[in-house]
């Protein structure tokens, strides 16, 4: 009887792993001296990006014609990734700051 329970549990867990999507993650991007690091990230739908602005300057993470996250000086901001795709983003105030996000389904 004791041997059956763990097996049953393993079966349950195995099934659960198939049904429940992988856990959403938070991906950190640091901004230091006008650069996003890492500049390119990969994520999946449901993940969040957290930009940590270490500069004493206001920045943004702005997708052309899309989402914009305002990043006050020495503060951070988050974005929930809701759609798959490949996006370039910039800082609206300093367009020489460039980043890229690839979002898998």
């Amino acid at each position: 009887m004791n041997a059956v329970r763990p097996a049953f549990l393993a079966l349950l867990l195995g099934t659960a792993a198939l049904v429940v999507p992988a856990q959403a993650e938070t991906i950190e991007v640091t901004i230091d001296r006008l650069a996003y690091a890492p500049a390119a990230i990969e994520a999946k739908v449901g993940d969040e990006i957290e930009w940590i602005n270490k500069d004493a300057l206001v920045h943004t993470a702005t997708v052309n014609g899309g989402a914009e996250v305002l990043l006050p000086a020495k503060k951070s901001g988050r974005l929930l990734l809701q759609e798959p795709g490949s996006f370039d983003y910039i800082c609206r105030y300093h367009p020489n700051m460039k980043g890229h996000v690839t979002v898998r389904p």
Binding site: A56, L57, Y93, P95, N96, M97
Partner: protein
Amino acid sequence: MTIRLTTVAAAIALSLGGNWVLAGDKPTDPQIAHIAYTAGVLDVEAAKQAIATSKNKAVVEFAESMVRDHESVNKQALDLVKKLNVTPEDNDTSKALSQAAETKRSELAKLTGADFDKAYVENEVAYHKQVNGALETLLIPSAQNAELKSLLETGLKLFQGHQQHAEHVATELK
């Protein structure tokens, strides 16, 4: 390299219509600090004129970001010179920059509406281009103190961003 620096200094002196640091002479750290600080102050003043005059949202937002960024960098610069015990030293380049800015301010004061917006933003593009050129070719290479050099390098990246932002606003105004 000497020839190039001299040419650049001469070109800047010409475009300022005044005296850049004497051709061939490298500015000292106290002079560099003064030039960089002055360049920031002048751009903040220009931005305040734009905020008071312009009714264009993109122009006002750009000007507000100039005030914010240049004040922030100049605060860092002041903290640094204090820490390094350096007294910024007035010089011909700072004086020429101030003179040129005053002339531009009077010119802009005669304009309103779209004419003002266009002239202000175009001058911002030109001004940042000029300051970036000076940073790249003269001020950064001449800086002796590593922390000052590093702050100037960050400043260059920031002002290059401003130049692109100004170019973007200029395109929107067309």
